[in-house]
Symmetry: D3
Subunit: 216 residues, 6 copies
Amino acid sequence: MTRILVINPNRSTACSAGISTAIEPFRFAAGPALDVVTLEDGPPAIYTWRDWHAAVAPLCQRIERETADAFIIACASDPGLEAARSVTTRPVFGIFRSAVAAAVARAERFGVIAIVEASKARHRAALRAIGLEGRLAGEVALNITMESLLEPLTAAQALIAAGQAVADMGAETIILGCTGMAHHRAALQAAIGLPVIEPVQAAVGLALVAASPHWP
Amino acid sequence: MTRILVINPNRSTACSAGISTAIEPFRFAAGPALDVVTLEDGPPAIYTWRDWHAAVAPLCQRIERETADAFIIACASDPGLEAARSVTTRPVFGIFRSAVAAAVARAERFGVIAIVEASKARHRAALRAIGLEGRLAGEVALNITMESLLEPLTAAQALIAAGQAVADMGAETIILGCTGMAHHRAALQAAIGLPVIEPVQAAVGLALVAASPHWP
Amino acid sequence: MTRILVINPNRSTACSAGISTAIEPFRFAAGPALDVVTLEDGPPAIYTWRDWHAAVAPLCQRIERETADAFIIACASDPGLEAARSVTTRPVFGIFRSAVAAAVARAERFGVIAIVEASKARHRAALRAIGLEGRLAGEVALNITMESLLEPLTAAQALIAAGQAVADMGAETIILGCTGMAHHRAALQAAIGLPVIEPVQAAVGLALVAASPHWP
Amino acid sequence: MTRILVINPNRSTACSAGISTAIEPFRFAAGPALDVVTLEDGPPAIYTWRDWHAAVAPLCQRIERETADAFIIACASDPGLEAARSVTTRPVFGIFRSAVAAAVARAERFGVIAIVEASKARHRAALRAIGLEGRLAGEVALNITMESLLEPLTAAQALIAAGQAVADMGAETIILGCTGMAHHRAALQAAIGLPVIEPVQAAVGLALVAASPHWP
Amino acid sequence: MTRILVINPNRSTACSAGISTAIEPFRFAAGPALDVVTLEDGPPAIYTWRDWHAAVAPLCQRIERETADAFIIACASDPGLEAARSVTTRPVFGIFRSAVAAAVARAERFGVIAIVEASKARHRAALRAIGLEGRLAGEVALNITMESLLEPLTAAQALIAAGQAVADMGAETIILGCTGMAHHRAALQAAIGLPVIEPVQAAVGLALVAASPHWP
Amino acid sequence: MTRILVINPNRSTACSAGISTAIEPFRFAAGPALDVVTLEDGPPAIYTWRDWHAAVAPLCQRIERETADAFIIACASDPGLEAARSVTTRPVFGIFRSAVAAAVARAERFGVIAIVEASKARHRAALRAIGLEGRLAGEVALNITMESLLEPLTAAQALIAAGQAVADMGAETIILGCTGMAHHRAALQAAIGLPVIEPVQAAVGLALVAASPHWP
């Protein structure tokens, strides 16, 4: 049976639970298993470049220990993507690049909502790496903590304000720049009237196609 | 129930049958319906720019008549993508742009195998439109007909030679540049040792995620 | 005798008459004939992507029936340029690309005045295709009909306001984004103080040079 | 009466005579006067960057002394274009940028035939300035003198070999990279089967349109 | 002993004196000689494109007469860089390109403070030539004379306002766009809190490394 | 007294010794101290992406413990540059970006000699991050170990062959892609006849200028 392993590279189980909920719609009967694991020896959250690097060694070790048909690194700053790819022959997806790929397949320009100001530089770096910096209409940071983001209602208003801001900058689709924003997707999409892309969902869509060696 | 409608914009039912087979692995029990329809009033095949334009009016009419949660235009020259998007509020995916998106989410540079020389200009145009011309390692045309491509074994050797050629140009993943190549995917991947992306499959992966208005 | 055929791809004879007036200064004694024809089976006007595609089949048929040394497609969204080039060995010019070429030969950055919002996406697509998106200082849409544009005085004020807006965005030259704006060129140029490029005139300048097989 | 002044920025009257012959087809009865003048105090030819700079002071002085509706700087390295533009309010065209503009209005990629190796860097600089470096398929230098180029037959074979070389690199149109090549245009076009753009002719086409303040 | 020759391409000895002061910190005991010379037959200042060209002939002659291990052209519009490189086998640095190189080695985006509006076009041209136009966050011109800039205190306020303006545009480092601004560097850096790059100093840093043929 | 701290992020003291020798020419009497330290808890060498990440935590800790006016990360894959910048207010230079900056200040296109194939992807990533991928003429890998590189004579021939290869690809200057190549610089430069840039030296040149808060 095909297995797609989603690795939350921070050690927050609340965050992993949110990720698992976000991809629930893709757990089809007889479809690939979509397992979410938490990197217990990863950083508490990835706010800084040091956190970003600190996730990589445990991430690679975990990938080496696991058996899966595809791996997803479930943090919107794509930590350790090249390193992870070097320790497995199976496909590895970074969720930010996946979201950007989904966005440009869908519309001309996208906006990004970041959790903190510092995320912007990592997103810009990923956009340059993938060659799509020119498609970014704009990015707005909420500047709140992961915790406040995970609460059911808090942050919804801040997200909608940020979504409207990037729409005004010309975005035709909006990328949620942190996995903790997943449960706000439908409300944001309804409020702004633009497609809202949740990065783990985007990566699952790509991984479903890439995972199986048995497909025609 | 969620329905993804895949429209083959040429009138070849053999081609539609091949498309339907290609996406069979994504027809999950209780998953979205993946329906493939043939554009009876479309051109016999899309070899030329005139064919490309000729598909658009019937394509738009068909989309207006159908009810679906997402549409896929199943020709690797993405005919009428903007026009189709203007006649529905549901997501519309072009399979070439979808394949390119899947490719850059997977690796740095991709190659394309085209059915005829003239396809290259349409692919280049699509790459420029999406902003990813710089990621194309190279493209090689088979210069054979759709019919010879659809036969089970013929063309396999030509495809493998073309795949090796784009690999030698630096491609790290290979895009099949025509829907008629789908049944050669596994053999080509095995022969070259690089991921091979079948564009309709790539579009289905993106559409699965984009289709449902009910997802969280 | 050299003949340059200007094809208005919509079926408005009023529009064709305006085009013919615009290029009157280039009808030199013993110079090439500059003939303007109307595509009777073209769309009434080209406001949408469907209109844009609908013009192509009759356009190609007309080019196949005519004898000319060069062809000009006289709509500022360059419909069917590649298709037209595939049915003749003679040069074919799209007027938008011609205007952009004239603009970058003249100054660093240009602005565009569009007739409707939807034209912008077609202009952006053409700019990307030609590789000059980065030279666009800005584009402003009038959002009025072709008819109101063709009246002698109406729209002049809207054009001047739009021209000033793109000048403020850094444009050093201004492209009229619809053939129906031609008769406002001199007034706009006088009002703004920047060169104003009328696309059919620009294409005629290029076609004069490209047309003759007899030149040294 | 409208006057377009073509300034040969080197002091070779043989070169000026060739330029005048090249644009003879555009001297229409009752059309604009196309006058060619020689910069007597310019450099003997423009082979080096020092020659390139040395042409500028006399060029600007000449423009200040002359009355014309448009100016053309007739050297394919576009010397002093910005300086010339700063001393007149009338349009000033550099012939290389004009040729490139004509090329991209005509086809996707162009090749250039240079007179000497050192011209390539100036052409690349101009292409970067205009933003079209990415459209250059390739450039080949003849590495011969201006004099040998001006003889009726000599150099034809070298030109054809160079033209074939850039065609093989993917050029769909060919730019003659020196005014002394003008009289070879028709033969080269016939031999290679691609449009060949003579830069002074290209500039005349653009200047005809830009020159008149009286046009509608 | 290693000698780096800094050539002020305008004839202002006050300007040369300011340059010499700016690089005083790099005159190490037993380090390379850093000599500053004035181009007596250069233009009084480089405000226009004509001035820019006028500096080149005397600049090349001076380089041919001098013996040095590296040359620096000390004007922030990099006049005659290619010409200068063609008359010596020793390294030649333009100070604007040097400052831009130092800026991108230090941070992602830089701003520029120009002395006059007209300098901006020359800076943009240099950025395009070097391929780094995309890293310019913004440029602001003071629109004052060289003389008022050279006075000890005048202009400090204007510089700080301009520095703040480019910081607000996203600059993470600031380039002084004229050699006459050198003595304001420390005050500007203190006021804005961003690294301020003085172009002659930047070029000296690069020249120190490039100058010696004897280094390991 | 000004102090520039050069941190070798691998734990090889032989490598650090080579670095120290390479920058000896810049240790001027009364000039800044140029200290080289070894990261004892860094990886043995940086061959892989995992090594690259593994260097970052100890690197940041070291920077936090040290007092210096500027820091240089002396590995040609620029590990942890953004992280290092986040833990100090003093300038931090990555040697690869420094070498590229020095190269584009010196000439149009550069080549790179890599130690192993895998370095190329890290160099490409750095070039994209800095925006200068387009200036890379080519890169060639030696595919030998750090140890064999550090021996006095071994590897010289391989380096010269690689240097000639990138010269043939159009490089006008050559960057040594590993600190262990420093002692081959003069021989390579002599053999190929192009400027050869040693990255630690390049960074020292930039750091000398950036280090002092006291300079005018």
